[in-house]
């Protein structure tokens, strides 16, 4: 009853603990399977792996080069005067933003484009606001049953996920537009002067309002956009 039995008891204790640990693991797995179907459990695993496997987008967006020469030529053509690098251009045909923040337009380092008042077709007194930032801006125009946003950016935010997406994004029409139907109306995307612009049109009745059911309204707006500001700056 001395050393031998104590040694044997120790060995048995170790063996028991190891067995119990395995059983505990098995019970945990069984419980997991009871809470989720095996298929669901598999989904979690697959999905988690997929999340980790995907590359993250660029953390710091790049800045696209702006063709200020082309912008100056267009501005001269539309206004009959020379584009100065810091002054807001006089463009009386365009809609006129009324919010205070619009005065920051000189900080924006890409051509700020706004639609012509005559083509907006929003009635006599649409609400027009401009939210300029250094690398992008948003103009918002709201009528009774129609909403139009014009957005421009020089930021390069993400890479396309695959070659097919790249091909589609490059597949612009003869005017350089990507015209898309949306749940709320139309969206026209295009690149001009090196910046990316969007016109978003939302109709109260997107299924029946011809400004949303057809492409011509948005297309005309995009073709008539006027340069109302923007200042060349670093990176641009």
């Amino acid at each position: 009853m001395g050393r031998k039995y104590r040694l044997l008891a120790s060995v048995m204790l170790v063996a028991f603990i190891a067995t119990a640990s395995d059983a505990q693991t098995l019970r945990r797995q069984t419980n997991t399977d009871a809470a989720l179907t095996p298929t669901q459990a598999g989904f979690i695993q697959v999905a988690s792996l997929q999340t980790r496997a995907q590359p993250a987008p660029t953390s710091q967006p790049g800045i696209a080069d702006i063709d200020w020469v082309a912008a100056a030529l267009d501005a001269r053509r539309q206004s009959g005067q020379n584009l100065t690098t810091t002054a807001v251009l006089s463009a009386p045909q365009s809609v006129i933003p009324t919010n205070d923040r619009a005065s920051r337009i000189t900080q924006t380092r890409l051509p700020v484009l706004l639609p012509a008042q005559a083509l907006l077709d929003m009635g006599p007194n649409p609400s027009v606001m401009l939210f300029p930032n250094r690398d992008f801006y948003t103009a918002s125009m709201r009528g009774n049953v129609l909403l139009v946003e014009v957005f421009g950016t020089r930021l390069i935010q993400v890479e396309a996920p695959d070659a097919r997406s790249v091909a589609r994004l490059r597949n612009v029409d003869g005017d350089g537009f990507l015209v898309q139907q949306t749940e709320y109306g139309r969206e026209i995307n295009f690149n001009r002067y090196g910046a990316a612009y969007s016109i978003t049109i939302e109709c109260d009745q997107p299924q029946t309002d011809i400004r949303c059911t057809g492409a011509s309204y948005g297309r005309n707006l995009a073709q008539s956009l006027l340069i109302v500001g923007g200042t060349p700056g670093e990176g641009g």
């Binding site: 170790v14 505990q24 139907q181 109260d204 009745q205």
Partner: protein, 286 residues
């Protein structure tokens, strides 16, 4: 004594002498006589001999594996389960399986940590879904489903077919309008409020669209500067008179490098939603 014995005795003495000369400890020419063994050594030896009477060193027992931390759960106590990105409801189109989280750090656009991203059209109560109403329990349970590329006629360049849904539908915790808050996904500016939409541009130039909020009780207006997580309004089913279910249609638009200039487009929001929702459940967001 015989002659042979004498020779043997002589050889033995000689061998002992040689051995003495070889192995006897010396220091230089001086013979070192070892100190007599201390008495204590005997005692120690005795103690060592008695050692078996003490407890033997126990065999190392492996540490049992610690119990894993409990799985974080949503506000209802359920574990978050989600289908992989691009895995649409069967028969609802082909998803974009190559996705990333395009807006890391985004705040989940609903306040509560209980919401269900899935299909309205192909879910119960949807016009192409199984029988049942929009409040059917399967619409308010996991697993989440991506529906960015769900079959529609809307131009969506990042979808395999080139068309899709352009956003992700998310049902709130319960099938009730005007109870569950939609919140700002990031800090930015409210750029427009339509009849059934709210649009926000983040300080980083990312555009977020919220559709179908309760437009009569919005907490924001055009031009407001909002912070991430700030309440915007209730999730509802406003759609300018067109019937729809109680849900948030959520879109993200960003500029994409095409290699031949940049273009703005809708990007898949699913993984940004998954990550931000997981963060909300884990308590990383408030």
């Amino acid at each position: 004594m015989s002659r042979s014995m004498e020779i043997g005795t002589a050889l033995g003495i000689a061998a002992a002498g040689i051995a003495w000369m070889i192995w006897w400890p010396v220091d230089g020419d001086m013979v070192i006589i070892p100190d007599p063994e201390p008495e204590t050594i005997e005692e120690e030896i005795i103690e060592e001999e008695e050692a078996p009477e003490t407890e033997p060193e126990p065999e190392p027992v492996p540490e049992p594996e610690p119990e894993p931390a409990p799985e974080p759960t949503d506000d209802a106590g359920d574990a978050f389960v989600w289908m992989p990105a691009g895995d649409l409801v069967s028969g609802s189109g082909t998803g974009q399986s190559t996705q990333s989280n395009y807006t890391p750090g985004m705040r989940f656009p609903m306040e509560a940590a209980q919401a269900y991203a899935n299909s309205q059209v192909y879910g119960a109560g949807g016009y192409l879904g199984p029988a049942g109403g929009q409040c059917d329990g399967q619409n308010y349970s996991y697993a989440w489903h991506d529906n960015f590329c769900e079959t529609r006629g809307y131009g969506t360049p990042m979808c395999p077919s080139g068309t899709g849904h352009q956003g992700q539908d998310i049902r709130p915790a319960t099938c009730q309008a005007e109870i569950h808050w939609a919140v700002a996904a990031d800090s930015g500016t409210i750029t427009s409020v339509g009849t059934y939409s709210v649009r926000m541009t983040s300080d980083d130039g990312v555009r977020y669209s919220y559709l179908h909020l309760d437009m009569d009780d919005l907490l924001i207006e055009v031009g407001d500067v909002v912070t991430s997580g700030q309440r915007l309004g209730y999730v509802s089913n406003d759609f300018g008179g067109t019937p729809t279910t109680i849900h948030l249609h959520f879109e993200i638009k960003m500029s994409v490098d095409t290699g031949a200039g940049i273009q703005n487009t809708h990007v898949p929001p699913y993984l940004a939603l998954v990550d931000s929702y997981q963060g909300l459940i884990d308590g990383d967001e408030s």
